[in-house]
């Protein structure tokens, strides 16, 4: 009886030491889950999730302060990917944070722009080129479509133009072929 207790105790001590050692030796710096969440998020930096950017939102999800369905630019795909990563149930997008819209790029009407630089300060990815009293313009390639530049503009000269399909970015659509249900069939 005594020997079995001693043996179990001994094993427990050994395993405890091994675990303690590996938790120190193989410690991962930073919290990798935040990076993983951030890599799923679309990096629009729009703040619709009620956090000031994608990284803060990722941190909140990791802490458990935020739900996974608060990101409209990520869309349903993003929520599903987050659900899989966090191991939680999928739930539809929370409409109070906004609806999923097709990606659009901001456009400054140069006739109306007064060069106030308020939009430049608002842009989270520095996609607006310009300076005080100089013409402002959106760098198309860098714009994420977050719409944060629209409210600050005092003359309302910024509009969102949805990206239209052209010969360069066209892609094949999901194949639709006939496999009907008996309800739809007309004899």
């Amino acid at each position: 009886m005594l020997t079995s207790i001693l043996i179990i105790l001994f094993l427990a001590v050994i395993i405890g030491l091994v675990l303690g050692f590996s938790s120190v030796q193989f410690k991962v710096e930073g919290d990798p889950i935040i990076e993983k969440i951030d890599s799923i998020l679309p990096q629009t930096q729009c703040g619709q999730c009620s956090y000031p950017g994608c990284k803060p939102y990722a941190t909140a999800i990791a802490k458990g302060d935020a739900d996974i369905n608060q990101c409209p630019p990520g869309g349903e795909k993003g929520v599903r990917a987050l659900a899989e990563l966090m191991g939680v149930e999928y739930k539809p997008l929370n409409e109070s944070h906004g609806i999923s819209k097709p990606k659009a790029i901001a456009f400054i009407d140069e006739d109306t722009c007064i060069g106030c630089t308020l939009c430049i300060q608002a842009c989270p990815v520095d996609a607006i080129l310009g300076a005080a009293k100089q013409m402002h313009t959106i760098i198309e390639k860098e714009c994420t479509g977050c719409e944060l530049c629209l409210p600050p503009c005092p003359v309302d000269c910024i509009s969102m133009e949805p990206i239209e399909e052209n010969a360069e970015n066209w892609k094949w659509k999901y194949p639709v072929y006939s496999i009907s249900t008996s309800k739809k069939r007309v004899n």
Partner: protein
């Protein structure tokens, strides 16, 4: 809807065509069966096919799928026919009905319908019948010499009511079953069955039927419905395994010849393991699958509790198919 994308030309046999060719290939075997054992099998076949079609229609209605498209694909008819051939020809009508219902509704549609069934439907039906009604399933009719004494009405009587006293005099275990029991009881095989009928004539009938199925199988291979991997590997493996045991002790183990030509071996080799939906898709995978089935068939026949191991062997290997598929992916061009 207009065909919008390439390829704009196509030449492929449809699923219905493939199933009809399989039925054609079964005909030589069925004819031999009728010639040697009477019309019992035709009655079984007709009831099976009718039940299958009705069951399929009902299930398609319940599942809201297009009826004409799926009923005409012929897969239910083939599954029902294979089941009908596998069970004794003197089995009463309710056996084949229950078996067919199980095959179509449970084994095929409850698993997802055409293309989604995990197990071979006919074998599932057979296994269910074998376990639930063992007595009836092991009473096989004897070849022509006895049955020709009975006229058509009596044969139909047997079919409808399973008349017990008639059955006892015309039915018996298969040679495999009989020999197994004798071995188990440590008796030498007698050359005659207990009711005086010689095993030889039964076995001869078995050879003729097996050869007819072989003809059907070769027909399917020529028409490119099946590839050589499954039947050839199965037959060679079974021969090898049974030869090993036979060479060790020929008094306890039957010769490979008997194993090959009795029971459902050739039916299994060409028609049952070649079911595309429940079988593997890669050539190497097919070889492993066929070897596995052959091994299990032999083990169940010799060491297992049932006289014929085909159904269980196939079902057990069906479970392994996804794993076999993922492990035997062929090397892509250039990546060898």
């Amino acid at each position: 809807m207009i065909n919008q994308q390439s390829p704009f030309i196509k030449k492929a046999p449809s699923v219905t065509w493939i199933m009809m060719l399989v039925m054609l290939a079964l005909i030589p075997g069925i004819l031999a069966y009728v010639f040697l054992f009477g019309i019992g099998i035709l009655l079984n076949l007709s009831i099976a096919i009718i039940t299958a079609l009705i069951a399929e229609y009902l299930i398609l209605r319940i599942r809201n799928l297009p009826i004409k498209l799926f009923i005409t694909d012929g897969s239910a008819i083939v599954a029902a026919s294979l089941l009908a051939i596998s069970i004794p020809s003197i089995a009463p009508w309710w056996i084949i009905v229950i078996g067919t219902l199980f095959t179509i509704i449970v084994a095929k549609h409850l698993y997802g319908g055409l293309g989604s069934n995990l197990f071979n439907p006919a074998m599932v039906g057979y296994a269910v019948l074998l376990i639930s009604f063992p007595a009836v399933m092991t009473k096989w009719s004897l070849p022509a010499s006895h049955l020709l004494d009975f006229n058509l009405t009596q044969q139909i009587q047997i079919f409808m009511y399973g008349t017990k006293n008639i059955i006892d005099s015309v039915s018996s275990a298969t040679p495999l079953d009989y020999i197994k029991t004798q071995i188990f009881l440590n008796r030498p095989f007698e050359l005659n069955f207990t009711n005086g009928m010689p095993i030889n004539s039964y076995f001869n009938a078995s050879i003729i039927i097996s050869l007819s199925f072989l003809i059907g199988g070769i027909f399917m291979w020529v028409k490119k419905i099946i590839t050589w991997h499954l039947p050839v590997t199965f037959l060679i493996s079974l021969t090898l395994i049974s030869s090993i045991f036979w060479l060790i002790d020929s008094t306890r183990y039957l010769s490979p010849f008997i194993h090959l030509f009795s029971g459902g071996t050739l039916l299994c080799a060409f028609f049952i393991i070649t079911d595309p939906v429940s079988g593997p898709t890669t050539p190497k995978g097919k070889i492993f699958f066929a070897f596995g089935v052959a091994l299990l068939v032999y083990l169940i026949r010799v060491f297992g509790g049932y006289p014929e191991g085909v159904a269980f062997a196939v079902i057990l290997m069906n479970i392994c198919v996804p794993l076999i598929d993922s492990l035997t992916q062929p090397k892509v061009f250039g990546h060898e």
